[in-house]
């Protein structure tokens, strides 16, 4: 009866949703992180205008991922959310504050500075929390009988603080290269100048994480160092992307820095996946252990196969409509 390995299909869907979310919400969170440091208030308007039309669609992937996780891999949902209890709260609070800032900042006059803080603070907290989630995932979770048995702040370790900072730097890099692509003049020049130091910060933090990770977990060390495998191509590609960012910024290319930064994120993400595959709740449970019932996965898959192409088409259409440079004083009201 079970024609397909639905768990595998679902793992692919959720995995795809996660990277879509990271790339797309990543640059608009990055713009929020860089927000307080912008040269002027007018530049802040331009920065916000550059992401205002698309950020909400970007967060669709988060909601879809959360609901899909409950439906397809309930064990992941019911172990990781309790384990990251405080972190999840911070993430949601951050996203709420920055979300409403988009709406109200454009309508506000004298209270505008409050919404500036709401936007920047919310973005920074949400980005850090997401990085800490990644770190916690690499660390693994203390479980027994399919239930989380660790403490409230087990996820908060020097390692996860570092991954949190790494995500902050990474998203800021996505944000600055996005601004290079979408703006011009003084703001673009500012973004160019920012990109190289941000890239350096990302490389240093990602480097430390890469060296540290095998010490955090035996399985990861085994996978990378037991013998020289094909997966070493991923970090090589990551470095190639980093080089490409550096070179294209030096040559003042406009689109390439952003594209190369996305490449850097994708290769790092794939590196993370191969480190842990097929464990979705490390160190104990694989994606097959964590799956819901076959008929439940099938019931939702039918609807989702129909909706994902539409979400993608809608997303592409939105980006097409708002293509090109954002200029000061134009756009969103």
């Amino acid at each position: 009866m079970e024609l397909f390995d639905l768990a595998l299909i679902w793992a692919f869907i959720i995995g795809f949703g996660v990277i879509m979310y990271v790339l797309m919400d990543g640059f608009d969170l990055g713009v929020g992180i860089l927000f307080p440091f912008a040269p002027s208030e007018q530049d802040r308007d331009t920065m916000m205008n550059s992401v205002a039309p698309v950020w909400d669609g970007n967060e669709t992937w988060l909601v879809l991922g959360g609901a899909g996780l409950l439906a397809a891999f309930p064990m992941v949902y019911s172990i990781i959310l309790p384990a990251l209890y405080i972190g999840v709260f911070l993430l949601l609070a951050g996203l709420i504050f920055r979300g409403v800032a988009f709406e109200f900042r454009f309508k506000a006059r004298s209270s505008r500075y409050l919404w500036n803080w709401s936007f920047a603070g919310g973005s920074t907290v949400a980005a850090f929390a997401q990085g800490a989630v990644v770190g916690a995932y690499i660390q693994g979770f203390e479980t027994a009988n399919g239930v989380y048995v660790g403490g409230a702040l087990d996820w908060l370790t020097p390692f996860t603080v570092l991954t949190g900072l790494g995500m902050l730097a990474g998203y800021a890099l996505l944000g600055s290269t996005w601004l290079i692509m979408k703006t011009e003049g003084r703001l673009q020049e500012w973004a160019y100048r920012l990109t190289t130091p941000l890239l350096a910060a990302v490389l240093v933090i990602f480097g430390i994480i890469s060296v540290w990770t095998p010490f955090v977990d035996d399985m990861v060390r085994e996978r990378w160092f037991s013998n020289l495998t094909v997966i070493w191509i991923l970090p090589a590609l990551t470095l190639l992307c980093a080089f490409q960012i550096w070179r294209s910024v030096r040559n003042r290319f406009e689109g390439m820095p952003f594209v190369a930064t996305m490449g850097l994120f994708i290769t790092t993400y794939l590196g993370l996946i191969v480190s842990r595959w097929p464990y979705v709740v490390p160190p104990n449970y694989t994606l097959w252990d964590a799956s819901s019932a076959y008929e439940s996965q099938l019931f939702l898959l039918l609807g989702l196969l129909f909706v994902i192409p539409i979400v993608l088409a809608y997303t592409a259409w939105t980006y097409w409509v708002f293509r090109g440079k954002v200029r000061a004083g134009e756009g969103y009201h």
Partner: protein, 480 residues
Amino acid sequence: MELDPLMLSRIQFAFVVSFHAIFPVFTIGLASYIAVLEGLAFKTKNPVWEKLSGFWTKVFAVVFGMGVVSGIVMSFQFGTNWSNFSQATANFLGPVLSYEVITAFFLEAAFLGVLLFGRNKVPPGVHLFAAIMVATGTFISSFWILAANSWMHTPAGIELRDGVFHVVSWSQALFNPSFPYRFAHMALASFLTGGFVVAGVSAWYLLRGREVEANRKALSMCLWLLLFIAPAQLVVGDFHGLNTLEHQPMKVAAMEGNWETSRNVPLLLFAIPDQANQTNHFEIGIPSLASFVLTHEWDGEVPGLNEVAVEEQPPVAIVFWSFRVMVGLGMLMILFALAGLFLRVKGRYFQNRWFLQGLRFMSITPFIAVLAGWFVTEVGRSPWLVYGMMTQAESVTPSLTGAMALFTLIGYVVVYGLVFSAGVYYLMRVLYVGLEDNDEEYDHEDDRPARPLSAAHVPFEIEPGKDAVNHAKPINQGGH
């Protein structure tokens, strides 16, 4: 005092879900009202309908936006605080809740955008179609949510294997025994909410002499609607109650404050339930009426709380009083609907200031009644979460400590307090600016469907000199 993670999680869920519920309950009713207005505008070509529709669409956009933001939190609550429940029920609830997300996405992506921003960009027929689809979409959304909730009250179509629910029949699970009653009761509640809010706001504009023609039409429509649905809700509520009596007798016993199974049970108008001593104080009741309402016989037997152990009883006082608040407000609504008819026959309901003032204050009552109703049904299910199969204590996240739960409870109260004060304040601004607002000067090209608030172009602060035009008697709007 030991912090109890179970109790704190229950309070937290009650807080976030109550906060969330008030938004959709209003938008579901309002969406249908907008669709009707659009239909009238399409058919009669009378610009008044279009003006009303345009204004209420703006209000819809703001409230819908707040509903979406508060809804995101809900989708994570199940995992953070009720992980055992999530793990056990995911086979059913996971797909059902995901389908709700998919519905909501379609609603936003395809039709809400056309409704909010397309008036001058698409043909009138297409705009009307979008309005109807948005109204339909809100019902499909509530279908999934209420199916999930009803299943927790009257589980069906499932099998419990090794502590995990497996679906054996999707249709039985979705259309479980309490679902039709809950859905009808909730749909009418949404219409009542939409009706009383529109009536109250129109009455307020009429009192201030603003846009008299349009607001009279709106008020008249609402009063006709309320005349039918306010009494209809009483009937549907009665059927829902009988369904509850069949499936969850202890909830009904708590609603009636009936401690011992007996005949000729009085309908209590007032009492102070005392759970410790399993009795009521200061009872005032109408003899045998509860028996008659529940069994349709004066000496019918009504189940009492003594049928189960004390620790399996729901908290009686909350259920008992929430039920009275809900029914009392329902009666008040019927009274207002009838008063409207009475004044209409006499031809002076637009002039009667007392009536208009009363309607103004009535606009808040459906929200209180809806929350009270949910308190009855949710608290009345205690100690069960999936009725008869899984208790609240079994469902809570095992690793959760009282301190953690308290931290996030305070956190959510603070975040919601800040964010939604801003939202409600802004809604008041939209209402204050009113139908006269002319936003033609704005460039609409960046307005986006999934960002519904962008449909309202009202500035956040009051701008002196610009805004208070032709408002004869400005009253304090809070904050300024």
